[in-house]
Symmetry: D2
């Protein structure tokens, strides 16, 4: 499929709503224009260079391969497709014992997606209703997506999945349980694939609201390139044929898909955060230089603190790859302790990075004139004059830096970026729980005892049992 | 002047640019509609209830009065006018010895502004060019606003002032030096008043970009009510008659206006931050309850940390009023150490408050559907169903809370709000410097020496001199 | 009682153990010499100036009185006596309805203590055993102190109380429940007074380990003056006559004493922390000056951060007194929200204060030579020469500052001081819980709703109920 | 040399002062007993297993070797000897061009030290006087160690070196400049080796003050094993023969030794901090379990935060070894950016680790009875009873854990440990400066520009130059 074919493929009768209106054709609607163009470009690139596609879609089997793949930058939907297929393959191996047909079904499905060159998104987070109660005790039992009917040829599902990036412009939705389920929650232990235009599916999307309508893209250099709309996907009694059902009622395996997904999502999230931190350090240094502040002590201290944080994250990312775990099938997955600790620190300190960047940039991060003002024949020259720093730092260049700072941090796009980093792969609490759970506590306890002279840890129990 | 007259008064030939275009009439242009309406409403209110106006415009002389005034909420432009006039009166007292005519000139000017019921903004921050160099060593000597010509009847000024809230919709600009000036920087030691439509004045404004064009105001409950556009004001060889010049060349007094302004701005900034913190605690609790999370331990810990921060700020604000300093003329000004320490903490911890709020709210702070989606006849009922928590928490209510969280923190408005808190009244470094400078260090050193038994501080010098 | 009589009164047969040995006479044993001397000095002072004693022992009834009393510095045991008697009087009022005889018993007891001029300590924290279980489910039912027998003339108690400052040198122990008790925990709901030398009482004390034996007091200026030993007090089947029992089985009132005590302890703890913060700022500035570092930017930043923290605490303390609550009987108690938030911040940031102080002082905080080395005839002059900074900062003076920094932070005394600040009046978690519980959440929620335009909070329920 | 010979070798006439007294024989004086015994044990071990010694003394040439050496634990003096010799060899290569004789002199010296099996300490930090002034502008020109006379056969040096761990029990002192020197500071650019008993050398030592005299070592499990006394070493006109002078006046090379030392010191400091963090996590978990608190949410959160910090450090350490730099001669040195960033974070967060540990342990970290109290026949059983948690957690075991927590953090030893971590290899500011200096800022700036679409970094200069 090339870009043109991809755009055409979106006109398939899907029900997409933005700001209260029904979208006619997602492929041509202005609300999605930026995203669609970017995804189409990847299609074109892969169409002309299938080796690039293979390089991206093949999971790495050694540390070098991990680093190489980490350095590839493709559009978010291609990335989601890769993550989804990896999740399916990883999970299928794990559930094969309990549900033998799933492995073949997954293999057939993955082959089909590859053959048709489709794009897939992950639908995991349920509406959840009252988060203090389990699925079956909700006032509305549909708060978690569930099977409402079983037929000889398939199942009928009902519920909603939230925070689905790029749902409106994908072909397929991978629906999986959001968490482990208990023995009596069989109707909620369901994993299956649903086409975006299946009857009963509605996508309520926030659209491309990150870049203000009519704004000059140069004033929003990130929003105009990197916006990924988010969809609220409703499954209202959607029929799914058996060959697309990979889990139905096997409650013990409900968490398998989410765990497999978490592995891939947190790892790519960690890479993204790492790069973001380096970008913020670089931007802070550029704006400090553009403001003539690069030799001021308190500015240097703030940049040093930013660089230290970026280095800690980079080191942790490197360690997560150096200590990767080999999964079934030889695929490598980054070490979970390092990944979760790094993701936690990156999300927890992101606000500090933003504060330092804004602190160094100053008020013009919000009040810089538009690039169009610089071009206005009446006032443009004066704006440029006063936005300039000195002969070697032109006002147009500096203005552009301010827009970059603004759009990275304090625009609607910057806000969405922050929430993505904070909530992606589970929030701070989740990362903390996973780190504590996977941290080698037995070794730490042994080190503690030995550190004050109890060489043999069995002394502990000896003393305790006296 | 009532609201209608105010709106009409803006059609005075001023040169305002937004997004590269020249605005015809600020009073009726959509880019300023929200602001103008809000300011007009205060005009109407004060027009019908002159005592309300007097209560607002009269500086407090006791702690009770300070608290009462702190509790008044008027539009930002009326507030800026009050602050500007207070600054002028405070500074005039201080410079009377060196420039006797200034006191009378200020008095006459203030009387005129009150009689005509005009609105005034503070123009303080210069373009600054290379911030590591003083005004006279800039590549462009206009980087700081300066007097370029002196005539028998007045002066001609050239330069630009940045980050001027509501400049486009005010009548008068109070131009004052941004910092202390040295003996050879006399041309930069200038304070004067300039009408918004004076020849040579251009206002390049960011406009009301905080609330996206066409968006439902209910999705942006803060941006649609509280947006204050920021102007970049250029003074290109503007003539100012003598009676409007309050400082010209008295370099020793250059910082007087900025200090007086700082006093009033930081105090009102502190009140604003205090209220914001309580609002964020309340919103965090509301959204925790709406999510069914209010009894989860880590959520409670985060809300507790937020409440502790809000309480520290409130306590510091209370202390700043309890220890207020009486200025010349009996007016009270909040204590500077408490105000600056509180402002610092409020700005430094704001990011943590936001993080906790977003952490508790979850991804729907970004991905919640529009209120218009709730009203769509095809899909609205389903959206409401899945946005609901339980019978007692309706989906429409919860959706609205998410929009409030979003618009307070991660929308373009939220970003502007953050920068305002961070940079208002000078950035973090400024507050730190002022706190250290005003903190009673002599007392602290004495307490330190006494704490380990050197009862008489003169022992210090005795020992040191042995 | 004067100092001499106090010392004699300690030779009363009490059983005190230190480092595994039984102490013969606490009044003359070296392990307690510093403490005993300090307490005796207060006795002498009060003996000669009874008005000073009255001023200290009378609870304040207005804000001025609160400030005056906060400024008084007496020894820790006199302070504990004041706190204990205040606790008894406050609690007696509250429990009078359920146990009428308690009010009179307390009044008689307080009168007796005052007449005999005795010293009282608070015994609250139980051994607690497994902290995840309630008293009655402990493997050892004595983990919480309880009544093991009831006789016509009194009760018999068994258990241990931990962390009792100055227990070894006091006359009376106020035994109160450590927490609220449930209906079936009547044996644990016991409050009574026990003389230090009652049969069955053993005090296992850490002794004056904070100042190393044989060390020069000038090297340990805080430990040698402010050390308060801690006792582990065991009540092994101790008989308490009825007139000294103030609670026995009234489980609903079990927490009354602890709450009353908490009020007074946290308030005095807050004053202590506030002063400590100012002392640390002063010491940081003194050592920075002594090192010739007071103009280095990063040093100034650290001192500014310390001063900001000290100011926040001071402001919160001021607010806690300005918003004091009037108790039964007209006595004023500081506001609990401000007190707890301030206590939390002071304990949480204490480590940062210490780090900055050590950072500014440098390695000599640990490695400075003894004052005795300065006096050594062979090497003293050289030590002084190299410990000096410049002509105006003598080596002997600077050495003394290093010892002060060391002893305030990194000596055994410094460590005990930190734990006292961290755990005094309950740990961080307790302060967080109390702050959240007492914070005016209803007001914050109302402010949040109003902030985005829901003027009438009843709209909330209206929306929620639709 | 074996342990006995080492002890005998210390009786060489050296002048050592502790607490104002001259020590007769360091090898047998109680003030150094613990240290001497520990060092002697390593001598014995190496004497009987020379391969162990070679394994320790040979610098690694691959990552595996780095990890293996990092895992070896020897006494601090052997470690200092290794670090000193590595520093000499590294620096000798670097200065060979300017001072050819240095390389041979170093080689001969190192061979001699190895042959005689001597122990060497690093003497780097000068007295410094007024730290805001350079050496030549000090009131006392000896504030930095300098050459006061040059003779045909050698030089005479004068000055003092501070914070020298184990100086009193070493054989040789490596004297090197503390920082870069300017062209006119030739007398301060001196590096040479001095025997501990050379005429004119005085060592004023703090002695083994970390473990209180007479205390039970079980109550101080760290101090009694790991105390390293610190010496203030005075060089009062000490003659050094030419063959022991490795730098004299080559100001451009003054910093070479300090840089080489810094490399090795920060790397081993980083390993030490990493291990300390894991020990603190383990101890926190052990004490939480011993207190019955391991399932309480806020305790788990604190342990999770500790584990996250430990993991960040471990990851950064791993990365510093994976990206090691190969020095002249094939020796590997850990990457400096990772090492400094990790060291910074480890030192900056150490206080938080301590706070969490103390928070979880509770007041008994300070007030736990002595192990000797547990053994007292009268009261021991009761102490054990009340220090116990439940049947599976004995009071003796739990008491020991409290002593470990205390001695690791809040005893005099804990304080010294903290300062060592904070100041070792330079303080926080130094690490921040080095990290910012070595961080690949050019790459970060390029990433920043590319991130908002300026693919070719030359656009930057293009724009800037327009």
């Amino acid at each position: 499929m090339d870009g043109k074919a991809y755009i055409a493929s979106l006109d398939d009768g899907r029900r997409v709503y933005v700001g209260g209106r029904r979208v006619g054709n997602v492929g041509t609607d202005p609300a999605f224009a930026g995203m669609v163009a970017k995804i189409a470009a990847t299609y074109d690139h892969f169409h002309h260079d299938p080796r690039a596609r293979d390089a991206f879609m093949t999971p790495p089997t050694d540390a070098e391969g991990m680093r190489a793949q980490a350095a590839l930058h493709v559009d978010g939907l291609s990335h989601a497709t890769y993550t989804s297929l990896m999740t399916l393959l990883t999970a299928a191996d794990r559930i094969a014992a309990a549900r033998p047909q799933a492995r073949e079904a997954v293999a057939a499905y993955v082959a089909e997606v590859r053959a048709k060159d489709l794009r897939v998104v992950e639908c995991i987070t349920d509406a959840k209703g009252d988060r203090s109660r389990p699925p079956a005790l909700q006032d509305d039992r549909d708060a978690y997506l569930r099977v409402v009917a079983r037929r000889p040829d398939g199942i009928v599902i009902r519920g909603a999945k939230l925070h689905i990036s790029l749902a409106a412009v994908a072909h397929e939705m991978m629906v999986i349980p959001t968490k482990a389920m208990k023995a009596d929650e069989g109707d909620y232990a369901v994993a299956c694939m649903v086409p975006a235009n299946a009857p009963g599916v509605s996508i309520v999307d926030v659209g491309n609201g990150e870049a203000p309508a009519g704004a000059d893209p140069r004033d929003f250099p990130y929003a105009s390139r990197d916006s990924n709309s988010q969809g609220f996907v409703i499954f209202h009694d959607v029929f799914v044929p058996n060959e697309r059902v990979f889990l139905d009622g096997e409650t013990k395996l409900a968490a398998t898909f989410a765990h497999a997904l978490g592995l891939w999502v947190r790892a790519s999230s960690m890479i993204h955060i790492c790069d973001s931190y380096d970008v913020m350090v670089g931007l802070a240094q550029l704006i400090a230089e553009a403001n003539g502040l690069e030799r001021i002590e308190h500015i240097k201290s703030k940049i040093a603190e930013m660089a230290i944080n970026a280095t800690l994250l980079r080191g942790t990312l490197e360690a997560s790859m150096a200590h990767a775990t080999r999964l079934e099938g030889g695929v490598l997955a980054p070490d979970e302790v390092f990944t979760n600790a790094g993701k936690y620190h990156g999300a927890a300190q992101y606000g500090t990075m933003v504060r330092h960047l804004l602190d160094i940039a100053g008020g013009s991060a919000i009040t810089a004139p538009s690039v169009r003002d610089l071009e206005n024949p009446e006032v443009g020259e004066l704006v440029r004059k006063y936005m300039g720093t000195k002969q070697s730092v032109d006002g147009a260049y500096r203005t552009q830096l301010f827009h970059a700072v603004h759009d990275l941090t304090t625009s609607a796009h910057g806000g969405a970026r922050y929430v993505g980093i904070l909530q992606g792969g589970g929030g701070l609490h989740t990362q903390a729980v996973v780190t504590r759970g996977r941290y080698d506590m037995a070794r730490a306890k042994r080190m503690a005892l030995e550190s004050f002279g109890w060489k043999d840890p069995s002394e502990e129990s000896a003393l305790a049992a006296e």
